[in-house]
Symmetry: C2
Subunit: 386 residues, 2 copies
């Protein structure tokens, strides 16, 4: 557990003139302030004695039912209520997975690149990380097979939709092939899916929960569709490991804020949530398109990037000699931030890569930010090799 | 991590006719429903974009300042803002302590008896527990000295005010003596103090944070004075270990519900909190007195119990042949519950002891519950030895 160099660099980026592509923050324009105020008022006045009291470690049953019904509606999969736990954000799901599954020194397979908050959460439990190559269509099957056979990892972490950091989505064919390989091994698949509802195309591939019902722990989050500040997510696990998760949750913090859970549930049932989600999807699709257009226009030759179908992130790869940490240092002075590639690797990779988030800014600011960043990249690539 | 026998027994205790002395639940009569509804409305409408966004791992700075000011007011001690972290209840403080300090197999000293939620939270990190005897005036100094010298524990857990489960409060003299012994060793003292504000006498002894500023991690909670359902507590640590706690908190759940924090802070500043706390203190003092009177009146000879100065619990000791788990089994049928002694020991102690909570019931129900329990105890002691 060490503070990162990147975190220190970003502490300098406090000017209001900075255009931030670094953080994975939702656009606050879509926070339902007024509707949550009404929901809060309703539950506290109607039912304060139970809203404010200690509650079940598993979470508020109607909210768990809502989540189960949403999986049925979106994926056609049946998830029993007693296989759903409310967590304090998807991040806490990662911590609970560490608590339940990882003993010091055990091998855990992760996507390469992989989400830095997952690496951070699991590092507490001191596993040995091994990477599986991520291609544009999902996990590299030969590499997955090799890692499963050679390393017999306890867990395989995936973020199959609009992956953090790459923006890549596993195709339906890739998921089916991954599931077929996994079914031959004892490794538990973790499906971390916080961006699930942020698709741009109206289509989505099946959840791994449907493909590997007894071999998948699925994590989700309300952070991207309502509010990250409320810290509300969920964990769905097979019956065989559920009791261990409930006991771990109780030991960790008794239960997630019952107040937040009850307010969210009231909000979800009193408002047209589909329309709200579609508004966010539409805005992020436009912001993403603006970023891709600006990259096309301003980035120098030799830089490539992903074309996301949803989520919040574009992943850019610079020529091999580029150093994204040095570029960030210069970019902060030029008024723009991003997250350098090495943040997302446990093995020193990603030196010439960067994650760019389009979620927080309007289209004009996105173009301006990419223009600033392009100038820094051009100077960096023209300068002496770092 | 195993579900306890007692938990299974208590699952039978669902009838509304049951008088519950088992749980440590605050009396919902004192939840400030209406004032929290007003606070929630105010912060969401005024400042929703920041209330609902991701926030600092350390917690909302004005709430941390409020806690620091409260320590200054109550204990005359100065606590810098950057030594306070907001946690998801005091329970999460215990989990973070496990994350930061405990390696598998390390020795941790605990009060004997000690809080079962602490034992549960730390067990995840697989320490070796060793007990220190608790006397009516605080820790047994000779036993403490012996344990520190023989076992060199990493941590010493204390709950010095209205201890859970015993209701015992360490005297000022005992605290000073404990601090003097601790200063000769490298063991970190943990002061878990969730009941701090629930005193009946208007007096309180110094916090260990004042006696051992560089060797004490102090935990506190808003659960007993506002709402446990909001899951809000705090952790105060010396500067030397603070960064590790912040990193552990971030890895665990990013931060505590910002929504809950902001609503609580608005409530604390907009309402007369002293008067609210005094109302709870007065009610619990009356409820405690009612329980002690009823025990005096109905309990058979040979049973002794503590006389708390605050908090929520009375601790009773039955004759050595008594079996409190068997008594609970019969008590549920008679319409009353409590927590059996073995729940609070890691070494098989407490067979003839029980924790009785007076926080949830009015005086008449308390008398009725003690009368029911007394009849079960009398039958148990008259019956064949279990």
């Amino acid at each position: 557990m060490r503070p990162s160099l990147v975190r220190e660099l970003l502490k300098r980026a406090t000017s209001s003139n900075i255009i931030p592509f670094a953080g994975g923050l939702p656009n606050p324009a879509f926070f339902p302030n007024e509707d949550l105020a009404a929901a809060s008022d309703a539950v506290l006045r109607r039912d304060g004695a139970s809203v404010l009291q200690y509650a079940q470690s598993e979470g508020y049953p109607p909210l768990r039912e809502w989540i189960s019904a949403r999986y049925k509606q979106r994926f056609g999969v049946d998830i029993p209520l007693d296989q759903v736990i409310i967590t304090s954000g998807s991040q806490q799901g990662l911590d609970l997975i560490g608590k339940v599954f990882i003993e010091e020194g055990q091998t855990v397979a992760i996507e390469r690149p992989g989400y830095q908050g997952m690496i951070h959460a699991l590092s507490v439990y001191q596993p040995r990380f091994v990477g599986v190559t991520l291609n544009e269509d999902g996990l590299d099957l030969a590499d997955l097979q090799r890692v499963l056979e050679a390393e017999n990892p306890k867990l395989l972490f995936t973020c199959p939709n609009y992956q953090n950091p790459s923006g890549i989505t596993y195709t339906a064919a890739n998921r089916a092939a991954v599931a077929a390989v996994m079914a031959q091994h004892n490794t538990m698949l973790i499906e971390d899916d916080p961006y699930s509802e942020l698709g741009f195309t109206g289509k989505h591939a099946p959840t791994f929960r449907a493909l590997l019902p007894e071999q998948c722990v699925a994590l989700g989050s309300f952070s991207k569709i309502t509010s990250p500040g409320m810290r509300l997510g969920w964990l769905i696990a097979p019956k065989s490991v559920m009791e261990r998760f409930v006991i771990a949750k109780q030991a960790t913090d008794m239960h997630t804020s019952n107040f937040s859970q009850r307010v969210l549930f009231e909000y979800l049932t009193a408002n047209p949530i589909e329309a709200h989600i579609e508004r966010i999807q539409g805005a992020y699709a436009a912001q993403c398109a603006a970023m891709l257009r600006a990259m096309e226009k301003y980035f120098p030759p030799g830089v490539t990037w992903t074309k996301p179908d949803g989520g919040m992130f574009v992943w850019a790869t610079l020529p091999p000699e580029a150093d994204s940490v040095a570029i960030l240092d210069a970019a902060i002075d030029a008024g723009v931030t991003f997250l350098p590639g090495p943040t997302f690797y446990t093995d020193g990779g990603g030196r010439n890569q960067m994650r760019l988030s389009y979620s927080q800014q309007n289209e004009a600011r996105i173009e301006e930010g990419i223009q600033r960043l392009a100038a820094v990249i051009v100077r960096h690539l023209d300068g002496p090799v770092q």
